[in-house]
């Protein structure tokens, strides 16, 4: 696996944890353990996201960092088959 894919896998792991916890919080909005768990992984996610977007570009429009060209339109797109 190349470094881009490793970083993307880390992001996906953080995001899945956050989503799963958010679903739990939807039905348990005052659970202190779940809130702390969410907070901890939110910080991990922010770091992973910063590293990814710094090196490999945008995950969403608002990741734009002042480049001369709108890198959003550059592939690969998530649905495309990639070797390796």
């Amino acid at each position: 696996m190349n470094e881009r894919k490793t970083l993307l896998a880390r992001l996906a792991a953080c995001d899945f944890i956050l989503y799963e916890t958010a679903l739990f919080l939807d039905t348990h909005p005052d659970c202190k353990d779940a809130l702390a768990f969410y907070q901890k992984h939110l910080e991990m996610r922010k770091k992973a996201e910063e590293e990814y977007t710094e090196k490999y570009g945008m995950l969403q429009h608002k990741d734009y960092k002042g480049q001369n060209s709108w890198q959003w339109t550059e592939g690969p797109w998530p649905w495309e088959y990639e070797e390796g």
Binding site: H61, W72, T73
Partner: protein
């Protein structure tokens, strides 16, 4: 992957209830030229596109249409607040009410449920982008008709915003089509070649 933002693209605040108008406007949720069909059309067409700029345009416009579904639903929701039974019966809202109460269900103005047969995803970029330009004009037409039927400035404000977005999307799809055509061999002036070339056995 999609993320939900807890806000509308353009605010919806409708002071006066009007179930008859709700029954008309709901066609832009579940009707043949509505926002649900628009979103499904563009997001499903992306996979067959050969050009990264066109993939980006379809992703972004398809995503915006999801937001427009929410705006149309918000209009219908607010137009059907605090209704009395006589308002429901006199306004012609009763046939919708009996099945859906004041919940939101994607139907056209005649109550026909949403159908995926209102749009295509052909796997052919030229065919799809021509459909997309037509779809934006058809949606613009429906918003023009709604503006002719509706006097309430609270509703008209939102409908005018949505109508304007159809015009912008039409322009972006026109450019996307040019993008695809520019990638063709000059001998293919009439843009007739199939997109799919079978692999040899």
């Amino acid at each position: 992957m999609w993320i939900y933002e807890k806000k509308l693209q353009h605010p919806v605040k409708i002071a006066r209830c009007d179930p008859a108008m709700a029954k008309i406007i709901i066609t832009q949720l579940g009707g043949p030229d509505g926002e649900l069909g628009a979103s499904m059309r563009y997001l499903n067409q992306r996979y067959a596109m050969p050009n990264d700029k066109v993939k980006a345009a379809l992703t972004d416009i398809g995503t915006e249409e999801l937001g427009h579904m929410e705006m149309v639903s918000s209009i219908v929701h607010q137009l059907t607040r605090n209704l009395s039974m006589s308002e429901i019966e006199k306004s012609g809202f009763a046939p919708y009410f009996v099945d859906h109460t004041v919940g939101i269900y994607p139907v056209d103005a005649n109550g026909v449920p949403f159908s995926a047969s209102t749009f295509q995803s052909t796997g052919d970029p030229i065919a799809d982008l021509h459909e997309d330009m037509g779809a934006e004009q058809k949606a613009r037409k429906t918003y023009d008709n709604i503006l002719n039927l509706c006097d309430d400035p609270d509703v008209r404000d939102v409908i005018k915003f949505l109508r304007e977005r159809e015009i912008v999307h039409y322009q972006r799809f026109g450019e996307s089509l040019e993008n695809i055509l520019d990638g063709l061999n000059s001998k293919n002036y009439y843009a007739f070649n199939p997109a799919f070339i079978p692999k040899k056995d």
